[in-house]
């Protein structure tokens, strides 16, 4: 980053070009650049406030009693903070159902994403490296799968699954999560570019089976793309609301998103749900926020490699 700081210049930030004494050309330019820097930084800071404010608010709100939530300034902590008792209420309410929701979310997103990535790798690799009948059709269907929104298939999926007895079970949410058309698409593009045919041929000559070639060589070469697929799938499943809403009736199978909405919808009748909901939101947001910050760099790298092709 080329930040232009001119040592010794004590000028203020306003990029005024008043009829003051003539200055040196370079000083004028540096001064204007510094003005731009301050202006740009100010704009960026204001925008930051917009993005961080709701998160800040929930941190504050989670420390309050319902009474203080209405009675005190929303931007600052009340005189009687009770974060611990709020958190305690969240984790113990209804026999600790919140913990169960968290574990459900972990199960759906974790197991679902890992398996989905593995299947996407296999399918994408096969599409890229093997010539077989119907390949064009499969490719077209996968592309269709990328473009058709998930919510459009959730409803018929429920009708189908309820006839198969899978609705309102863990399978009802887990099975659809195993499929990532976008992942297949990405892996296919990536495999074509990074897994050389000659390497596959060489491995075959050495007597390696097709499955072994895939597991030992291809998976390693595909690793960067697979990280991206995995991340997308984790976030996708974790954020998915429509599918579990349609599929699940039993509260004990809910992921945390669904559980919190159930709490939120009760605040009108039972005000203590305000505390449960705000503290519950805090608990579910903080780990995600940390994960986001850590994973941000991987995210950025992977996305453009396959998806944005000029």
């Amino acid at each position: 980053m080329t930040t232009t700081s001119t040592p010794g210049s004590t000028t203020t930030s306003t990029a005024g070009e008043g009829p003051a004494a003539p200055r040196q050309e370079a000083g004028e330019g540096a001064r204007r650049r510094r003005g731009t820097t301050v202006l740009v930084t100010a704009v960026l800071a204001v925008v930051t406030a917009y993005f961080l404010l709701p998160v800040y608010w929930v941190v504050v709100a989670a420390t309050k009693s319902t009474q203080d939530l209405f009675g005190t300034n929303g931007f600052w902590f009340s005189a009687r903070p009770q974060l611990l008792s709020n958190l305690g209420a969240v984790f113990t309410y209804d026999g600790g159902i919140f913990v169960r929701w968290l574990l459900n979310s972990l199960l759906y997103a974790g197991l679902g994403a890992v398996l989905a990535t593995y299947f996407a790798a296999a399918a994408g690799y096969a599409l890229a490296k093997y010539d077989f009948r119907g390949r064009g059709l499969v490719q077209a269907l996968v592309l269709g799968g990328v473009l058709v929104p998930g919510t459009a298939t959730a409803l018929p999926l429920f009708l189908l699954f309820s006839q198969m007895g899978l609705a309102n079970t863990y399978w009802g949410v887990l099975v659809p999560s195993l499929v990532s058309p976008f992942g297949v698409f990405l892996v296919q593009v990536y495999a074509r570019a990074t897994v050389p045919d000659s390497m596959v041929e060489a491995a075959r000559l050495d007597g390696a089976g097709e499955l072994r070639i895939f597991h030992v060589f291809a998976l390693r070469a595909l690793a960067p793309a697979l990280v991206t697929v995995l991340l997308f799938q984790v976030v996708g499943i974790w954020n998915n609301y429509f599918l579990p809403l349609v599929m699940l009736a039993d509260q004990r199978l809910y992921p945390v998103t669904l559980g919190l909405t159930a709490w939120r919808s009760q605040v009108d009748r039972l005000p203590e749900f305000y505390q449960l909901t705000t503290a519950g939101v805090l608990v579910s947001v903080v780990p995600l926020a940390i994960a986001m910050l850590v994973l941000q760099r991987y995210w950025r790298g992977g996305l453009t490699e396959g998806a944005v092709k000029d």
Binding site: M1, T2, V40, T41, L44, V47, F51, P54, W57, V58, A61, L69, N73, G74, F119, A122, A126, V138, L141, V142, G145, L147, V148, P149, T151, A152, T153, L155, P156, L157, F158, L159, L160, V175, L178, V179, P181, V235, W238, Y241, F242, L245, V246, L258, L260, T261, R264, D268, T278, V281, S284, L288, M292, Q296, W299, R300, G301, L303, T304, V308
Partner: protein, 282 residues
């Protein structure tokens, strides 16, 4: 390959076929309360006709189109401007700002909506309190404003994500191009217009297509806000309408027809947009 195809068939191809089939099916119930069982028959385009002639569904389509035109435009423009500002030489602490903007993307849409729903309720919301103190009385949950309150949530959640896509593309521009432009005497604005914007075009197209698909699927935000805003009807968005046809009216035929229509619309809109931008480039 085989396991994926099997699952893909089960979770994607089958539901699509099933939905299409269901959308052409009429269910007639026997007996006074349907207790004598139901029989189904071919209904032709009856369900589609009912879905389309239903004023509520048509209105919801118009609503998300209006929403899409405004929200997607605002968001993509904001994301582009932020990306350009962050990547400009004048920005300080770009890493910090980038992370701050991206943070909301890590929060699931439902949770973000719950969060904002508190900020929309008078009495709890410090923002509304602040606005009222300076004489602006805003009710984000009123019939005339609630659509834009939803737009605000969506913008809040996805601007940073789109910005990162654009930033990634900006970073791939070779340094020599910037130098050449500067030697030619181009200022920052000129560089943005003539050099950076054309080169991030593929990223912009991608982000826009994803946003269009997202807009059509709008569901979680209005569904959650329904609890606090009576202005949101059961058919406020197409997806909400389909959900209610299925679960409140048990009319799976119409619900399927609506789902098929939404999918088709997403498909056509993305295809048209991709087509337009590709032609523009040639």
């Amino acid at each position: 390959m085989a396991p994926f195809l099997l699952l893909f068939a089960l979770t994607f191809v089958a539901p699509v076929l099933y939905a299409v089939g269901q959308s052409f099916t009429r269910v007639t119930r026997e007996g006074l309360f349907g207790q004598a069982g139901a029989s189904s028959g071919f209904a032709g385009f009856e369900n589609y006709a009912r879905a389309l002639s239903d004023g509520g569904f048509a209105a919801s389509v118009g609503r998300v189109l209006l929403f899409g035109v405004v929200q997607v435009t605002v968001m993509i423009v904001a994301a582009t401007v932020l990306a350009l500002l962050l990547e400009s030489a004048s920005a300080r602490w770009p890493g910090f700002f980038r992370t701050a903007y991206f943070l909301p993307y890590g929060i699931p849409g439902v949770i973000a909506t719950i969060l904002w729903s508190f900020l929309y309720v008078p009495g709890i919301s410090p923002v509304l309190g602040l606005l009222a103190a300076v004489g602006i009385d805003l009710d984000p949950l009123a019939p005339s404003t609630v659509l834009w309150s939803i737009a605000n949530i969506v913008t809040w959640a996805y601007t940073g994500y789109n910005m990162l896509i654009i930033v990634a593309q900006l970073k791939s521009i070779p340094k020599e191009l910037y130098e050449a432009a500067r030697v030619d005497g181009a200022g920052p604005l000129r560089i943005a217009r003539s050099l950076q914007l054309p080169l991030v075009r593929p990223a912009l197209v991608l982000a826009t297509v994803f946003s269009i698909i997202g807009t059509l699927q709008l569901f979680a935000e209005p569904q959650v806000l329904q609890a606090v805003s009576p202005a949101i009807s059961n058919d406020y968005t197409p997806n909400l309408a389909a959900y209610n046809s299925a679960f409140n009216y048990n009319d799976y035929g119409v619900a399927s027809a609506q789902a098929v229509l939404i999918a088709l619309a997403a498909f056509v809109l993305s295809a048209v947009f991709l087509g337009l931008t590709n032609r523009g480039r040639r």
